[in-house]
Symmetry: C2
Subunit: 630 residues, 2 copies
């Protein structure tokens, strides 16, 4: 029961760059290796334990037993959390085969398969005795959304070499979807995009064209107003991206995860159907959203109310939603665009978003998470109960689980497969997009190549590539140079082409190519049109966004009252320090005046921390944008 | 069936200042007179027409007929809209008796009275066949909230001279509440405060102490965690002000209307029970919220998600909720505090909030409204359908009616009674708090006094008080001087005491006292701690906050791209103008950079408009805070 271990979560039939599969690239240690170990040893088990305890996995048992009516645990899309856990387990099993995990995985898949109905339908919230009928709430029921996650979990299983039970379940379910929603079926879409990506990838690995055809239909139907249902409350059609057809939209809008999953699915369809217009529309939406609707951390979503993009340049740091899942969705889209185009800008946003938005979610121990990732915490957050469900956007430290808990499992599947986003191949060479400690072993037109990449990145800018094996004839090794690394240096002469050094020559075993990226701390200013942070500056260091946290200020200080001169930025003993001043404006009875208030100042030196690491030392206030940059 | 026409919406048993009743003060024309005419001729009928058409009034007929189960129109608190309409009608009838309005009023009251149950209970969403049981959802059911609005409507009827059907309904309902929630009844409160104010006022006018006792119980129970119900989602106990007892809270927090209605009711209870500690707590909450959580317009509410106060200094102009009803609630609280203390700061906030938040809601014709009142409109709003329900916080022009439509009726009752907030009396004199065209006729210790107040206010700063009748002995005439009017001049020598000129002398018929308030446009800067508007400035002119609207900019300009030097502020031909520069920062692919972008500028002179009048000339972008003040 073995399938080809090629390609990662995405494997386009036609693309400029070829993704590497789990047999071709592996993280070997370092910064990312540590995170994969924590993910494997803590997060995956944590997710399963929680979902067993609160009955989300048990839903499948009750569905299989026919007793689910009236006893369903959790909201309508908790099935998807189990599927994302399965996807995480599959990638983890593909990375480091573990017999105990394999047994847990198989047992869990068996419980899910038992709940599949005879016609292929599989959802624990709909269609059985005492439940709403199938597809009776396409706006918010999330049935097709959940199916999409099951398809992605099945793809992970197939791409890691196993064509067993879950892929069988997925095919029967996909066949059912085609029966109900296919060309002669119901003219409808799901309120939450996701299935489109899943269907295309299932097509790519099974060759079953109906799945692609179904995805194409879902993309074509979107934006035509099929989502009607009850009044949408504060949301409106834009929330669902059902306001404008995908190929006509100019930017990302509405619910951020929905927008990015939809765009990913649309690009998958465009790539498989050679729909250049659709692909161009997605690229335009990405570019406009990145230029005007994206936080410095790569996070997106400026509105709490509908977890949505704001208007252009509406990027309030204190009300940033910057949902972890939206960051992951952004990585998924950028990865597709990178494969399609080879353009380094997509790899750069992946790096920024992974390091500064997605990684901010899990706690150091991998057992608590941020659902949202604010850029300014005004009041010290509460300490969540380790045994209770938290609300998703409370001002608190990271929480173990949420009533709506899409982030933990999304983090788990992303970290388990993160190395698959680090490098790609073409016929004539290898492209390194992200740096860390990993090894590549793949076959080019000229023959096999094996490389070891070593780096203290993201803290240290030295990247050493050691050739372990190379074909006799010349190949091209491309090393991406981030936009901020203006003085990047390579150990040999090589042209800088489209954001990467390209070393095109013959290589011998033991050859070393060394890239030095200057990771000194630097000051970053915002576009004047971002009203909420006018007059502020931020500090970045290499690919990391830094933050000022109150635990690094004198006792009793809050980040809300400080300002700084960016010229006082200093690096000392590897730490980044800033001279910050605390303003004491006195107590006004009305915060608006004809004159500027007299302000007294006291100063202190504060160390900055990588943003992703904040809130690991107890409740604190925190800010990325510091007043004083004007 | 006549009651005493004294006191307005509020008439404390003990207070420093005595409110004037509808026989004692009347607006005669001018700025406020025009608004009362539009309110009487358009808004009141508009509200009734809408609520007939969409069945909110019909709910009472169906309840009376026993057919309401399954056929209730609208959400659980639409009864309160009908009661606020009744209150508006009552004040309007007290102001200018109109036989046709009287007939409509009586017919409407009869339909409501017919729905009252034998034990006094009256709500169209609960308790009848096919409906949830009474008081089964105190968190969100709004039963007691609706009762409070009925009580206030009944008080308006009583204070305008009629002790007829609605007051009878109110007393039976209040008696029922005491039976169910009284000292020996259920230890519970309503999720939305409001009934407390209504009960105290009903006590004040009927003398029935049980109503005061009941209000005291509701205040004492709040903050003790009686609101449990289902998970509150994003809200939490703070949303309901059930997190901390009223007397222990330090500032306003949670849902803004709830917070301000609760504080108003608490102060009413404190004043009637001589509870100095409770009164001091409300004053502290007011002061802290005004100093740190209030927009320049007087609007409050920084969060869309829960219509709530934000943290201190969290006042984003583009995400300002600044709900019209919260502005009205703020006026209600400040009025109570003004009566209690005589402190001019409360009158000043009333003026600011009425002119710059409440008045921004109704369209010029009185037939469309803003539910929220943003301080920065980034995209031109849509034009709402005049025949469809709108969502409450859409980016649009003013809408005719909302799914949740608390604002139109709240505006109607406020404008119908607004003159009652303009002046007060004491034994020895009269205090003028707000300016416009109105007449006062009241009796002081020394005898009758009649005054005519004339002013082009808020556009013109000249206020002329003409004595129409005066007692022989000396009395004190106090004229409030707003904080911004630093060069205010009076036509005679008089001391400026606690924010008001006090003219204490004998007056003769025909005597004139003239106050000149300098209403030149002036620049206002924000407290540095309000991150969202750092480096910005606003323009105020007299009591009016001005706004920059794109219709006053060259074709194709948006307010999002402009900045200005506050020194270019000019007054010309009565208009306020500013030289604004449009920034063209070029098209960046990423809105953060190590260098400030090169910016090209083109300039234009723009007229500013009073904020309340914006969006009356078609879709536009608008901002109050203008970049360039640093």
């Amino acid at each position: 029961m073995s399938a080809a271990r090629t390609g990662g979560p995405v494997h386009p039939s036609h693309a400029v760059l070829r993704p590497l599969g789990p047999d071709e690239i592996a993280i070997t240690g370092g910064f990312w290796g540590e995170r994969q170990v924590v993910n494997a040893q803590a997060t995956i088990a944590h997710c399963q334990e929680w979902m067993e305890r609160i009955g989300w996995i048990g839903n499948f048992d009750r569905a299989a037993a026919g007793t689910i009516g009236g006893s369903h645990a959790g909201i309508e899309f908790v099935d998807s959390e189990v599927y994302k856990l399965l996807e995480a387990m599959a990638w983890e099993l593909g990375r480091s085969h573990d017999l105990e995990l394999e047994a847990r995985y198989n047992a869990l898949v068996a419980r899910i398969a038992a709940a599949q109905e005879v016609d292929g339908y599989l959802h624990t919230s709909f269609g059985r005795d005492g439940q709403p009928t199938r597809y009776s709430n396409l706006e918010f029921g999330h049935e097709l959304y959940c199916f999409g996650h099951l398809f992605q979990a099945a793809v992970a299983r197939l791409r890691t070499g196993y064509d067993d039970l879950l892929p069988q379940v997925a095919r029967r379910l996909a066949d059912h979807v085609y029966m109900v929603f296919g060309p002669t079926g119901r003219d409808a879409v799901c309120g939450h995009p996701e299935i489109e990506m899943g269907l295309v990838e299932l097509f790519r690995i099974t060759g079953e064209r109906r799945y692609l055809e179904q995805a194409e239909l879902f993309i074509a139907r979107r934006g035509t107003g099929t989502l009607r249902g009850a009044a949408f409350g504060p949301f409106g059609q834009e929330y669902f991206q059902d306001d404008v057809p995908v190929r006509d939209a100019q930017t990302m809008r509405g619910h951020a995860v929905r927008a990015l999953y939809l765009a990913s699915g649309a690009l998958d369809v465009a790539d498989e159907t050679a729909d250049a217009e659709l692909a161009a529309a997605v690229r335009l939406q990405w570019a406009n959203a990145v230029a005007r609707r994206t936080y410095l951390t790569g996070g997106v979503g400026s509105h709490h109310q509908d977890e949505a993009y704001g208007d252009d340049f509406e990027l309030p740091p204190d009300r940033a939603y910057a949902e972890t899942c939206a960051g992951i969705a952004s990585v998924m889209l950028s990865w597709r665009l990178l494969l399609e185009s080879g353009d380094a800008k997509y790899a750069e946003l992946i790096e920024r978003t992974l390091l500064n938005n997605v990684l901010a979610s899990p706690r150091e121990d991998g057992r608590a998470f941020y659902y949202t990732n604010t850029l300014h915490q005004r009041i010290p957050g509460a300490v969540p109960d380790e045994h209770e469900l938290s609300h998703r956007a409370e001002a608190s430290l990271r929480a173990p689980w949420f009533e709506v808990s899409c982030c933990p499992t999304n983090v788990a599947r992303t970290l388990a497969s993160v190395g698959l986003y680090f490098a790609t191949a073409t016929g004539d060479g290898v492209q390194l997009h992200q740096y860390g400690d990993y090894e590549i072993s793949t076959t080019l037109d000229a023959g096999e190549v094996r490389l070891r990449v070593s780096s203290g990145y993201p803290f240290d800018g030295a990247v050493v590539v050691t050739v372990l094996q190379a074909p006799e004839s010349e190949i091209a090794l491309r090393l991406r140079v981030p936009g901020w690394a203006v003085d990047a240096a390579l150990s040999e002469d090589a042209p800088l082409i489209d954001g990467a050094f390209e070393v095109r020559r013959g290589f011998a075993t033991g050859d070393i190519v060394r890239l030095d990226l200057p990771v000194d701390a630097r000051v970053t200013f915002p576009d004047q049109r971002i009203d909420a942070i006018r007059g502020d500056f931020a500090i970045e260091r290499g690919p990391l966004v830094l933050a000022l946290e109150s635990v690094d200020l004198p006792e009793g200080w809050s980040v809300n009252d400080v300002e700084a001169d960016p010229a006082t930025l200093r690096s000392r003993e590897g730490a980044t320090e800033l001279l910050v001043a605390r303003r004491s404006p006195g107590e006004a009875t009305w915060p608006y005046a004809s004159d500027r208030p007299q302000i007294e100042r006291e100063t202190a030196t504060a160390r900055l921390v990588p943003y992703y690491a904040w809130a690991n030392r107890g409740p604190s206030t925190m800010r990325i944008w510091i007043p004083g940059g004007s």
